[in-house]
């Protein structure tokens, strides 16, 4: 029973990682690409790490997994915010994201 749960977590995580990568490749500009990579990418690797915690079933592994997931969810919005601000202020890309220009 646990094996099936682990399999579901691993497959869902791989699926979301794939969706994030396709979004990074196919979406039209920097801000939409960032939207794909931060949200779907973090969800995919979090699901895979929950699968690892269920598979190994030790306390220190679970603590480590929770630390990694918390850290990813804490830092990826900060990183995305900084990249987004840099790309909005960049004069080269300002034409493609014109809605935000003053």
């Amino acid at each position: 029973m646990t094996d099936i749960l682990i399999s579901i977590f691993l497959l869902l995580g791989g699926f979301f990682a794939l969706i994030a990568a396709i979004g990074v490749l196919r979406l039209p500009d920097v801000l939409t690409r960032m939207h794909a990579s931060t949200k779907a990418g973090v969800l995919g690797s979090s699901l895979i790490l929950i699968g690892v915690a269920l598979y190994l079933q030790q306390t220190e592994i679970s603590v480590r997994v929770i630390a990694i997931i918390l850290f990813l969810m804490l830092t990826s919005p900060i990183g995305a915010h900084m990249i987004g601000r840099a790309s909005v202020r960049d004069p080269k890309t300002k034409g493609s994201i014109d809605d935000l220009a003053d």
């Binding site: 029973m1 094996d3 099936i4 682990i6 399999s7 579901i8 691993l10 497959l11 995580g13 791989g14 699926f15 990682a17 794939l18 994030a20 990568a21 396709i22 990074v24 490749l25 920097v30 690409r33 960032m34 990579s37 931060t38 990418g41 973090v42 995919g44 690797s45 895979i48 790490l49 699968g51 690892v52 598979y55 190994l56 030790q58 220190e60 592994i61 480590r64 997994v65 630390a67 990694i68 850290f71 990813l72 830092t75 990826s76 900060i78 990183g79 995305a80 900084m82 990249i83 601000r85 840099a86 790309s87 202020r89 960049d90 004069p91 080269k92 890309t93």
Partner: protein, 100 residues
């Protein structure tokens, strides 16, 4: 099909999916027109490599791979922040160089 065989199959399938997403993110890193695109692709690759470490930890039962994932999460955030600051400061520095 036993549950053990299903677990093996799904480990292999998720390995393939994660590796394909790593390759696709690398394509964006190679072609990305601006620096911000490349930074986004690098960030995506770091998060995907954390997922690779997770799948490898399940496949081999080596718990030390999770330490690798933790350190990678820390270093990847620092790299993203440093590159974003660099991209933001580049124009200001260019303007200053012109004024001098």
């Amino acid at each position: 099909m036993t549950t053990q065989a299903f677990l093996e199959l799904s480990i292999n399938a998720s390995f393939v999916m994660v590796m394909v997403s790593l390759a696709v993110a690398f394509v964006r890193l190679a072609i990305g027109p601006t620096l911000a695109d490349r930074v986004v692709a690098l960030d995506m690759m770091t998060v995907t490599i954390i997922a690779v470490c997770g799948v490898a930890a399940v496949a081999t039962s080596v718990a030390a791979l999770l330490d690798v994932a933790l350190v990678l999460a820390l270093v990847g955030f620092l790299a993203t922040v440093a590159l974003a600051r660099f991209a933001e400061r580049r124009d200001e520095r260019r303007k200053e160089a012109k004024n001098d």
